[in-house]
Symmetry: C2
Subunit: 231 residues, 2 copies
């Protein structure tokens, strides 16, 4: 069994900041699997061409190329059924997808507004133009204008996390007594911010801060040891 | 086995409109259980005093009084383990709670704004003062002022449903191939509106409209046959 994971990297190759790659990294650790982790930049499309598309995470499992964090999670669950489950069954899998839609539709856009310029500042030179052009087309303004009022928007971002905060008031993880894939999906967003931006997105007394600390400590501190900013 | 369910009713005793009672009603049907359904009004606190509190749903299962829709769901899951599961396991249960927090924190408040006056208009006379006083204290304005600009707010309400809409693009139910408790939690919100208000909250071409139609048809059309408005 040989596993290779292509992970988005900044100019420093150890700064791995993609929220989607973090999902896969945590899922591999959850399954007790070791992968060779290959740093990848936005413009390295040729390198992952065998996956049939141009984004990471890309996982190569014994020669089989897989892309898309959900496809990879489903593959890990199916290919390694005797290891701890990522979803806890069909209902858990479907509801993890709901959490994913909430994270991608509600949390990511608000968070990106606070870290967009920091992402750009950390990128390898060869990635900067691609990133600015593609993101500014999507958001319809300059990265600088987009992120300008982040102090004002931070409260709204924090409030948008209320459903997770309320759920965590009654249990240590979104998935219950133990972490599972839905936790990694939300955690990926926080790790995206932590690895690329010094901006403080959570207060220390926020229950989500404590939950994030638990996630940072999992698997021998895998995520907490990763190159990033204090949070 | 004798089951009695106290359900919130409007002036017409067959108009059962509580979103929380609908969760329980659907959960009982999911488990294949029949209950005697007793209409209850906000001011009938004495009737449910043995439950130790003053709200419905209240379920009496062979003399044991239970309140709170989540407590009742947990009871049904534990007491009737050989019948179809409401949660599909521990992860599914925890994530159903997350869905619940999202429904109660994001969806209910926006929806209540559109139906608050219709609720009041349908109540039994003896409930009207209680409802107006308690709700106006909570919202800090008159019910009429609160609901005045519902046409303007409807788009925001619909957008707040985007995570569910996106999740349902890939599967017939939030819980996957078959409905489970998380679906009933969101469905309760829609049934609250349908049973008490003629206001059209979803467009006919909204994927959520189709999902709701599936829920309305479950269990021999249990929810669809309930007294309410076309939707």
């Amino acid at each position: 069994m040989t596993l290779i994971l292509y992970e988005l990297a900044a100019a420093e190759e150890d700064r791995r900041f993609s929220p989607y790659c973090w999902r896969t990294r945590m899922a591999l650790a959850h399954k007790g699997l070791e992968a060779e982790r290959v740093p990848w930049r936005f413009t390295d499309t040729e390198v992952i061409a065998p996956s049939g598309q141009g984004r990471v995470p890309v996982l190569v499992d014994d020669g089989r190329w897989l892309s898309d964090s959900w496809v990879i999670a489903d593959h890990l669950e199916a290919a390694y059924p005797d290891r701890p489950s990522l979803f806890g069954g069909a209902v858990g899998r479907a509801l993890a997808h709901f959490v994913g839609q909430w994270v991608e539709g509600v949390i990511h856009p608000r968070l990106f507004r606070m870290i967009a310029c920091d992402v750009h500042a950390h990128l390898a030179d060869r990635d900067k133009d691609y990133f600015r052009t593609s993101r500014e087309r999507r958001i319809g303004m300059s990265l600088e204008a987009f992120a300008a009022d982040r102090d004002t928007r931070r409260e709204g971002f924090r409030r948008s996390l209320d459903p997770a905060r309320a759920a965590l008031a009654a249990r240590p993880y979104l998935s219950g007594d133990a972490p599972a894939y839905a936790d990694y999906v939300l955690f990926g967003a926080f790790q995206w911010a932590r690895c690329i931006s010094p901006y403080r997105i959570l207060d220390a007394d926020d229950p989500l801060h404590a939950w994030r600390a638990r996630l940072l400590g999992l698997y021998d501190g895998l995520a907490g040891k990763a190159l990033g900013y204090p949070c």
